[in-house]
């Protein structure tokens, strides 16, 4: 269950690749999907690169960095331990992805990606070592055997006509269920339905992964001349939308009927 695999590498950039391969293999064995495996690889790469470029910048004395991987319940956990001077990367200010080109600084993206790509990141200093713990949740998609059925259950989609569809997700849109929503939206877009009416009335929780799926679909729909139109948002969801500025991005209606009535009469 919680078998721990372990690898130590010398603190040199050429060795990072080996650590990436090690983590990829462990993540695949833990049942993470291809995308989650990629995320883990990148987070570990960024973390190790930071440690080597900054922590060991002045003494390349063959110090080692230790990487361990283990699975606990639905979580794949990577720890990275090194003996460079105490440094908590999480205290550093993250760069802003919406910054214009001219003011962009070249560095600082490593930590940003680590936080974005993993579900949980913690730092502690113990026994004169920096210990960074990266956690990736293993998506429900992998643990339950029938993703096809789950799609129908949680994300019913109904075609209105050749150009539009209504999708009615229920429950929680988090990192384990958003994959389904993504898939359902993809299918509609691929079949030429670019007006996607997502009725959110039965959605009680949305995590950043759910937001991301909606934005991705919105982008693609807009590229193809359509739109993603939302309706029936619960107050808590409205709050989250306003927090991240999504209320400015999406057309939002109080309920599905109003949303459909406002559909532009083209074709």
């Amino acid at each position: 269950m919680s078998e721990v695999s372990r690898l130590a590498i010398p603190a040199r950039l050429e060795e990072v690749r080996q650590a990436c391969d090690f983590v990829v293999e462990a993540a695949e064995q833990a049942g993470l999907d291809e995308r989650a495996v990629y995320h883990c690889q990148m987070a570990v790469d960024e973390a190790l690169t930071n440690i080597i470029e900054h922590g060991f910048a002045y003494h390349d004395d063959g110090s080692e960095i230790e990487i361990t991987c283990q699975t606990r319940q639905d979580r794949f956990i990577v720890t990275i331990a090194d003996a460079s001077p105490a440094f908590n990367p999480l205290l550093h200010e993250a760069p802003n992805p919406s910054e214009p080109l001219d003011s962009r600084e070249p560095g600082g993206w490593g930590i940003y990606f680590i936080r974005k790509l993993m579900d949980d990141v913690t730092y502690e200093r113990a026994n004169n070592r920096n210990l960074l713990t990266l956690v990736k949740r293993i998506a429900a998609a992998r643990r339950s055997a029938a993703p096809g059925r789950a799609e129908d259950t949680y994300f019913p989609a109904r075609a209105l006509d050749a150009a539009a569809a209504v999708i009615s997700p229920t429950g929680r849109l988090d990192s384990s269920t958003s994959l389904y929503l993504e898939h359902v939206l993809e299918v509609q877009l691929a079949s030429g339905r670019t007006w996607l009416y997502v009725d959110m009335a039965a959605v009680e929780y949305i995590a950043s992964s759910g937001l991301k799926v909606l934005v991705a679909a919105w982008r693609r729909a807009r590229e193809k001349g359509g739109d993603v139109v939302l309706s029936g948002l619960q107050p808590r969801i409205v709050e989250i939308f306003e927090m991240v500025g999504f209320d400015l991005l999406f057309q939002v209606f109080p309920d599905l009927d109003t949303a459909l009535a406002a559909r532009p009469a083209t074709r």
Binding site: L13, E14, V16, R17, R35, Y38, Q41, M42, D45, E46, T49, E53, N96, P97, S98, E99, P100, L101, D102, R104, P106, G107, W109, G110, Y112, F113, K116, L117, A216
Partner: protein, 112 residues
């Protein structure tokens, strides 16, 4: 072979096709390949990432650096054919609003 870059001199565009893995051990190599063209006055660049299976922030950093450089002289660095994963990373960093990204090499080259 971890990363391979092939450069083609086209009429109005320098095309860079990258294959393999771009990380902190070789991102500088990618940057300097593009720099060489800019040094020669060729500032319309297309970076075909179709063969890139993995790219870390070190690669993005070089791309942003070169983009800044060519923009100053009226050129551009446009991206073609990124994998779904690389595209996601570009979006996470907000770079999809800074780079013009095309689904195919032909479209990227033709955009100049």
């Amino acid at each position: 072979m971890v990363m391979e870059i092939s450069t083609s001199d086209m009429k109005r565009v320098q095309l860079f096709e990258v294959i393999g893995r771009v990380d902190s051990t070789n991102a500088a190599e990618l940057g300097s390949a593009m720099d060489k063209s800019v040094d020669d006055g060729k500032t319309n660049l297309v970076l075909d990432l179709g063969g890139v299976e993995y790219m870390s922030s070190a690669g993005l950093r070089e791309m942003v650096r070169v983009l800044k450089r060519v923009k100053r002289t009226g050129g551009d660095l446009r991206i073609a054919n990124p994998s779904e994963r690389v595209r996601e990373v570009l979006e996470l960093a907000g770079l999809d609003s800074i780079f013009e990204i095309y689904p195919t090499q032909v479209e990227a080259v033709g955009s100049f």
